[in-house]
């Protein structure tokens, strides 16, 4: 199952639904990198509201996706991280220190809007 990458204004929005397989996660990483270089968005928003749990591999890929987008010069905001996911990330030492986080999609969009206005 491919994860859609949506474009709103000049931001890319990725909303991950349900559990993420290893291949889907890697595919997302690849597609997002391509879309960022082709479409030159100012911001990327990754919404994890519907992700209840992650394993260590997917957690690493999600962390990589955020750092990668940041490296490519766009503002990244990760929204809706669930408690279980947060605990897994912390235990793996993936604290996403340089990445902006927000409680929900609305807050994330507000942040991105504010950053490019």
């Amino acid at each position: 199952m491919e994860i859609p990458i949506l474009k709103i204004d000049n931001c890319l929005v990725v909303s991950i639904q349900g559990s993420l397989t290893d291949t889907a996660a890697l595919e997302l990483q690849e597609n997002l990198a391509r879309d960022i270089s082709q479409q030159e968005p100012v911001g990327v928003l990754v919404d994890l509201t519907a992700v209840e749990i992650v394993d260590s591999f997917v957690a690493k890929v999600l962390s990589d996706i955020s750092s990668m987008s940041k490296l490519m010069g766009v503002n990244v905001v990760v929204t809706g991280i669930q408690p279980g996911v947060a605990i897994t990330l912390i235990e793996l030492g993936l604290t996403l220190d340089s990445i902006r986080t927000a409680l929900n999609l609305q807050k994330g969009i507000d942040f991105l809007r504010a950053s490019y206005k």
């Binding site: 991280i81 669930q82 408690p83 604290t95 409680l103 994330g108």
Partner: protein
């Protein structure tokens, strides 16, 4: 005449005599009982013993012991009291057997064996039940304590406060983090104030746990403010050389923390 018949014939005598001995033991809970109630209880126990002698120690007997122990623990009898009662009953039963069969030594031995077996099985089952009941109580108390010890208080719109009191071990820290994160999601909290005024000692593990709580809440999208670090605690942290708190906002006390929090969400308290 068989053992069960003998016991049946002597039920009243055994019940009365054991009840009298028990009354003289000076166990407060027994002293409170009416003499007639006590004899009735002893009579019931003897009847159950007679049934157990006939059919062996079966499920019914174990159930009887279970219910009895449950009842006695409910009345807060100690395990010592229960064992004393069994001993007194055993002594009396041996007496009865001695008197009844004084001219038939082989029968005495045979019946004593039966009685001893049943009595020791009863002791074991009652002890087991007693332990089990106590264990349940401990588990329940622990749960209650855990729930009490980590309250997460929604202080204001978007602000939750976690007042930590007492020693924080890894288990408690994990539990607190979990509850805190769930509260952040359900309350949509943007600011979390962790108040450690009530934490007496801090070590590296506790420091690490606090840091984890802060990092995890940041992942969810809220900001963590640590307040109430006592002078002693601050010195300990410096001595431990844990430069962990450099990325967390710290404030002197809850009051200052609340001011910072309100400031961050664009609110202020003014007098009317």
């Amino acid at each position: 005449m068989g053992l069960t018949q003998t016991l049946k014939n002597n039920v009243d005598e055994i019940a009365h005599e054991t009840a009298t001995v028990l009354k003289n033991l000076d166990i407060p809970l027994i002293n409170e009982l009416e003499y007639s109630v006590l004899t009735q209880q002893m009579r019931e126990m003897i009847n159950q013993l007679v049934i157990a002698i006939k059919s062996g120690v079966d499920e019914d007997f174990i159930n009887f012991l279970y219910n009895l122990s449950w009842h006695k623990v409910g009345e807060s009898y100690s395990i010592n009291d229960i064992q004393k009662i069994i001993t007194i009953l055993k002594d009396k039963l041996i007496n009865v057997i001695e008197n009844e069969y004084y001219d038939q030594p082989d029968k005495i031995i045979k019946y004593l064996k039966i009685i001893t077996k049943i009595i020791s099985e009863s002791r074991i089952s009652m002890a087991k039940v007693y332990m089990k009941i106590r264990e349940n109580t401990i588990i329940q108390q622990q749960q209650a304590l855990n729930e009490l010890s980590t309250p997460i208080i929604p202080l204001f719109d978007k602000i939750v406060v976690v007042p930590l009191v007492g020693t924080i071990d890894t288990f408690r820290a994990k539990q607190t983090i979990e509850r805190l994160l769930n509260a952040i999601v359900s309350e949509r909290a943007e600011i979390v104030i962790i108040d450690v005024t009530g934490v007496p000692i801090i070590d590296t593990a506790v420091a690490q746990n606090l840091l984890n709580a802060a990092k995890a809440s940041r992942l969810l999208g809220s900001t963590c403010i640590l307040v109430g670090i006592s002078p002693d605690m601050a010195q300990t942290i410096i001595k431990l050389d844990v430069n962990l708190f450099s990325d967390i906002i710290t404030n002197t006390n809850l009051k200052k923390g609340l001011e910072t929090a309100l400031n961050m969400i664009g609110l202020e308290i003014t007098s009317r």
